[in-house]
Amino acid sequence: MTRPLSAPLDVGFDYTRSLGPTLGRFLSDLRRRKVTGIRGSDGRVHVPPLEYDPVTAERLHEFVDVAATGVVRGWSWIPEPLEGQPLDRPFAWALIQLDGADTSLLHAVDAGSPEQMGTGARVRARWRGERVGAITDIECFELSDEPAEEPTEADDVTMVTTPVNLHYTHSASPTEDPFLRGLMEGRLIAQRCPSCEKVYFPPRPACPTDGVPTTDQVELADRGTITTFCVVNVPFLGQRIPPPYVSAYVLLDGADIPFLHLLLGVAPEDVRMGMRVEAVWKPREEWGPTMQNIDHFKPSGEPDAPFDSYSQHL
């Protein structure tokens, strides 16, 4: 058997978060090239500052200025940096205890080679030119005995935006694969459950009623019955057709599960449950492994289907 179809899937989102008084102070200060810790109930100065004490869970209040220089307490070496990491050349991850702090901050150290790196090494922050109030305002740390650049003035920040971009290979299931390949040829391939004999279009990896893989392929015609529908009156971002228009559930003849598609060629006020429809395909040269090969459905002109013929599929 050939491998099921697969395709790259890139997922991205800019997470935007409010900071609150503790992290807000820390990130506002980073923007000013300053590092601020917070004193815990046991007297330890935590950098980065914690909102609540890790031992007593008390709310913490007492901010403490610390230096942007410190000592490496532990490290690893990354010979091949990954997307999004602070440096695009080999670097060290390190837990760094800043001068005046009792706990350690995670960041990158631009040490050149692992031979240069060591526990106990002195480091200082390399500040980014354009600072926005984020942990990445420290570009990285560098090996140095010298002080870091002097603090400067900047406005407070109350929010932080973190872009997240992840990359996947999305695979179709063994039952979705013939469905997608069929669509490329203008064919509608469903699957029948060997136990309850229900016909699924689109197919699923297992029958949701019986929990057994569907094994029998069934080819369906491109016509069916509207089981239910809605008239879209609300405009939204990315809308392709000006409202009002009709989104309808279409139950293909011989299928047991309706799917949502676009209904055109009829005024919204004339659409009915039970209305018979047929597919309007895009030009063949535009076909791909997608249900979008069917541009929309339109009324077929046949008499309406009786309610009993689709009442079990609502």
């Binding site: 980065p48 992840l166 990896p205």
Partner: protein
Amino acid sequence: MRDIAVVGFAQTPCVRETDGTTNGVEMLVPIFHEVLGGLGLTKTDIGFWCSGSSDYLAGRAFSFVSAVDAIGAFPPIAESHVEMDAAWALYEAWVKLLCGEVDTALVYGFGKSSAGQLRRVMAMQLDPYLVTPLWPDSLGLAGIQARMGIENGLWDERAMAAVAAQSRQHALSNPLAQLSGEVDADELLALPYVADPLRRHDCAPITDGAATIVLAAGDKARELCERPAWITGFEHRVDSPSFGTRDLTTSPSAVAAGKAAGADGVELAELHAPFTHQEILLRQALGLGDDVTVNPSGGVLAGNPMFAAGLARIGEAARRIHDGTAQKVLGHATSGPLLQQNLVCVMEGRE
């Protein structure tokens, strides 16, 4: 308190990459049939279903809902999910049984790590304000912890390589393992670093897989299984997510969970240690002496299906009670970065 036991366990082979979807259905259907068939049960005999998986691993929203197709949830079932290793789903099911609401539960976990880039996906479990924006990878973080232990004299690279060699040797008797074989620690130490001081053999492989356990209470357990693995202690504890404040060379949460669950006197332990040094750390934290057999299956260094591997440790340990080769065993699972959260399940056989 009600007596509750692990009565059934099944898992898929651990493989580097499957053809299946990220919703796990293709991996789950066969192991549901195996575990239920082995007990003479059908889906309608199960009182509660609980799963562990992750949408970040799958790269899609609500992947655990699609996974329910593998059950055939008709008539409707009682079901729950945790976005954690399924060992924590097992804990939820155990509580459900303790409450007397049901007599049986089926717990499952699945993960298709090959779909994404696991080292980056794991950054999503870190502090989203100050840590995730740096995209620390799981190997880089574990490397810091390993070096701290080396420099504190708790282990060294040779001891770490010996853990890897032992895992692969144990895995020779595990037909579902991904990595197995006779390897020499010296050969392993000659290989390059992937995240100095970690070499490839120090890191669990990237694995696709799934696992399932059936729990039953009292007489139902005795009816289903000749030697049920009775749960005598089941505890989980968590350390601060701020790993710069913790001593990374030990794991207070593992120590506490082990004490509370009664780890003393176990003959055999399956530890969820995705890095070689973490197996050494956990042995120390759980007080497991040289007389305790650790990871006879090879452990997760021989195959690490994310979100199922912790559950599989409990299943592997329970199996040694079922087959009569052990009397008191321990299954361990971890979650979060650098052994932040730890769960210990102690099980015993009874004559």
